[in-house]
């Protein structure tokens, strides 16, 4: 047991740091700094640089483009990425869909879809939740009926509505859970389909969330014709894919390195802002106690994640324990957002979204404080709500 980095690992850190510094797109950095709404091209700018370098998907198996890094190298990579405040590749293709394809897909499907994900040429979105199927995902109703068309080929005709589709407004393709057997038990009648978002019958409608942003969408599917070869894994066994995907979705969600960075920002804000007594906010007895408790909580999460990574390195995949990372990780992210909002005091109130580009009232760090906090409430709801995560731990880990 030790926490030491080897000379090779330290050299790797220097290499990673230098690469990010020299290659991070300047226009993306400028947009991030100004808080501007990102365009499709900006979202993909860093992804494309990483694709050229071969660093898009460190966790994939090497044969499909993974880096073959050790868990420690991946840890260093995430630390350096967070430190430099990079915009990581979007998770939908790289982190969520790709593991399903390389685990359950045919050779043909791997060849067809993995390169587009890797290179950032194809933007993927997720079609899981429905208006009537949130935590009870398996109750989903979007229907796919198998037909033989006039061309002699087999298709699914898909009808239904998906919701909370993040950044679906930019998506080229989506991965969808659909019901292919209405008579089977809920989990047993689901299939995993890849759908071209340009197919006739697909309509994407924005949902504006409470902080005023457009991140999520409704997706309506009206007699959408999907070739059978776009199904991953067996018909009616899509739930197996869905579960695997959710475990991967959870393991990255702890966000330790990003939270460390944000904690550092909170401390900066609290040394700039004043307490009622006139000292810095960070010297205020009540505020500093909250910061200290959060910092300790984050340290505990960090070491729990390191233990999980060490377990994965010894051959265990991300198991149900990753639910702990999801619960604690999101609680800490939300607490950080709360404390930033608390720290900025009066200047949490101005709502600048409609005042035009670069509008700023009060200190720069206050501009997004409320919006981030409001938006951040989603994290304990998505990816399986934290209550569902507790159900998973109760069943899978505690055997209840």
């Amino acid at each position: 047991m030790n926490l030491d980095f080897t000379p090779e690992e330290n050299a790797f850190r220097q290499e990673v740091r230098a690469f990010i510094k020299d290659n991070y797109p300047k226009n993306l950095r400028a947009a991030q700094d100004s808080g501007a709404t990102l365009t499709r091209d900006l979202y993909l700018a860093w992804h494309k640089v990483l694709a050229k370098k071969g660093w898009v998907a460190p966790s994939w198996p090497v044969e499909f483009g993974g880096t073959g890094w050790t868990p420690t190298q991946k840890y260093i990579w995430s630390e350096e990425s967070a430190e430099a405040e990079t915009l990581p590749p979007l998770p939908f293709g790289v982190a969520m869909l790709a593991p399903v394809i390389y685990t359950f897909g045919t050779e043909e499907q791997k060849k067809r879809f993995l390169p587009g994900i890797y290179n950032g040429e194809v933007w993927w979105c997720q079609g899981y939740s429905e208006p009537g199927a949130g935590s009870d995902l398996a109750s989903l109703k979007t229907k796919a009926e198998r037909i033989t068309a006039d061309d002699g080929k087999e298709y699914y005709i898909v009808n239904g509505q998906k919701t909370w589709t993040t950044l679906g407004q930019f998506a080229d393709w989506g991965f969808f859970l659909v019901r292919t057997d209405p008579d089977a038990k809920p989990q047993a009648g689901i299939s995993f389909l890849l759908i071209d978002m340009k197919s006739p019958g697909v309509t994407v409608r924005p949902i504006i969330t409470l902080e005023g942003g457009h991140e999520v969408n409704d997706v309506f599917l009206d007699n959408v014709k999907v070739p059978v070869e776009n199904r991953i894994f067996h018909e009616n066994q899509g739930w197996t894919c869905a579960k695997a995907l959710l475990a991967h979705e959870r393991s990255g969600i702890a966000g330790v390195a990003r939270s460390k960075r944000n904690l550092e920002k909170l401390r900066q804000i609290a040394t700039t802002e004043h307490s009622d007594a006139g000292g810095t906010l960070l010297s205020d007895a009540f505020f500093r106690r909250k910061v200290a408790e959060l910092e300790i909580d984050l340290t505990a999460l960090e070491f729990t994640e390191l233990r999980t990574l060490a377990g994965e390195a010894s051959g265990k995949g991300p198991g149900a324990e990753s639910s702990i990372l999801k619960i604690k990780g999101t609680e800490i992210q939300q607490r950080l957002q709360e404390l930033v909002l608390e720290a900025v005091g009066h200047y949490g109130a101005p709502f600048l979204r409609d005042l035009g580009h670069n509008a700023q009232i009060g200190p720069g760090y206050a501009v997004d404080a409320a919006g981030d906090m409001f938006n951040g409430r989603k994290t304990s709801i998505f990816g399986g709500s934290n209550e569902i995560q507790r159900n998973i731990i109760a069943k899978m880990v505690l055997g209840l």
């Binding site: 047991m1 810095t280 106690r289 909580d297 324990e321 702990i324 619960i327």
Partner: protein, 380 residues
């Protein structure tokens, strides 16, 4: 970075666990605690001779197993699972720590006696007025030619009734709460002028109020530098905190698994109460606390060797463990219902130990304040 245990370390854990499973059941423990002397010298002898674990953190040249903090962690966690009262912490971790870190002339001989099970240490540091401030000392050690004369009152000295030696913190100089002027002494408990009032503690240990009345010790009783003993004390106490956190991990694991087992058996409304979601989520939250505690114990134990990171790490770990002891302990009793209130069930005994660990070497508030200072600087 590496979170795995060596083969030797895994073997150490297995050895301690299987011995305690055979010789330290809840009933065996209760029987031993109920009669004098309130602990089991035979078990201690077995630790020394059969298991050889009293040498776990000492070098092989001194007759030990060549381990360090990780080995202490392993032993203490297993001891926590069995609620062991025998003084591994006081003797091996604390007594051994002072001997190892101080350059004390008699260290080699005394460590040999520790490993052999002959020397048993208790740490006389707390005082009735001092709360958790290690520097708040009224006990004095006045230089008298080539010797020192000790006077004072040490509070709740855990394990003192069974100790052969006391590690005593005392003022050789300075005011009551000064960081300077503090020295450490090894005093044989049989020394003239040492008197004790012995009593049991709520969690099954034995402890004493120890009174020093003109206790004369030689210059060779001084451990570490005269008047500059506080850094040494803080270092050993941080090691004791890490070891206590490890013990807590054992206690917490038992509180959690005991609650899982009980709720699976206990039926109400025609079904096991473990099938109720409100209880399942509580047990998940307990589980998260246990896992976070294990993580923090690893973290603090690994960082003990680094004087720059040690203090903050120990404080952070103790905050996590203190909160976990309260949450997991109290919920374990709650979920056991009325049965949790009975003396006959082990769960209550784990709860009592967990509750005492909360305050051991400083409460959650104490360590939070310490962490704040180390991480955020001085408060306004």
């Amino acid at each position: 970075m590496d979170f795995s245990f060596t083969d030797e370390q895994s073997m150490l854990r297995d050895t301690v666990a299987s011995y305690l499973a055979d010789h330290y059941s809840f009933d065996q423990r209760r029987a031993a605690l109920a009669k004098e002397p309130g602990w089991s010298p035979a078990i201690w002898k077995a630790f020394a001779e059969e298991l050889g674990i009293l040498g776990a953190p000492f070098s092989e040249e001194l007759g030990g197993l060549g381990g360090g903090p990780i080995e202490n962690m392993i032993v203490m966690e297993e001891m926590g699972k069995a609620l062991v009262v025998e003084p591994y912490l006081g003797t091996v971790v604390i007594g051994g720590g002072f001997l190892k870190h101080s350059g004390y002339a008699g260290a080699e001989a005394l460590i040999g006696q520790i490993i052999a099970g002959e020397a048993i240490f208790a740490f006389a540091y707390a005082e009735p007025q001092g709360r958790y401030n290690l520097a708040d000392l009224k006990t004095t050690a006045k230089k008298d030619g080539g010797s020192y004369v000790l006077n004072g009152h040490k509070a709740v000295v855990i394990g003192a009734p069974y100790a052969t030696h006391l590690i005593v913190t005392a003022r050789t100089d300075g005011g009551q709460r000064d960081a300077q002027g503090i020295s450490v002494f090894i005093v044989e408990k049989s020394a003239a002028g040492v008197s004790t009032r012995d009593y049991p503690t709520v969690d099954g240990f034995r402890a004493s109020e120890v009174i020093f009345e003109n206790v004369k010790v030689g210059a060779d009783a001084l451990v570490g530098p005269e008047g500059h003993g506080l850094p040494l004390i803080e270092k050993v106490v941080d090691e004791a905190i890490a070891a206590t956190c490890a013990e807590a991990c054992g206690v917490l694991a038992k509180l959690h698994t005991g609650t899982l087992e009980y709720t699976r058996q206990r039926k109400q409304f025609g079904q096991p109460i473990s099938s109720f979601q409100v209880l399942q989520h509580r047990m998940v939250d307990m589980f998260i606390q246990v896992e976070q505690s294990v993580s923090m114990t690893y973290m603090a134990t690994i960082k003990l060797a680094d004087d720059k990171q040690r203090t903050k790490a120990a404080a952070a770990a103790k905050v996590q463990i203190g909160k976990a002891c309260k949450f997991v302990g109290q919920n374990a009793i709650q979920l056991h219902g009325g049965m949790g209130m009975t003396d006959e069930m082990a769960i209550g005994h784990y709860f009592k130990r967990a509750t005492m660990i909360e305050a051991a070497f400083g409460s959650t508030d104490h360590h939070l304040a310490r962490y704040e200072f180390l991480s955020l600087g001085q408060a306004a």
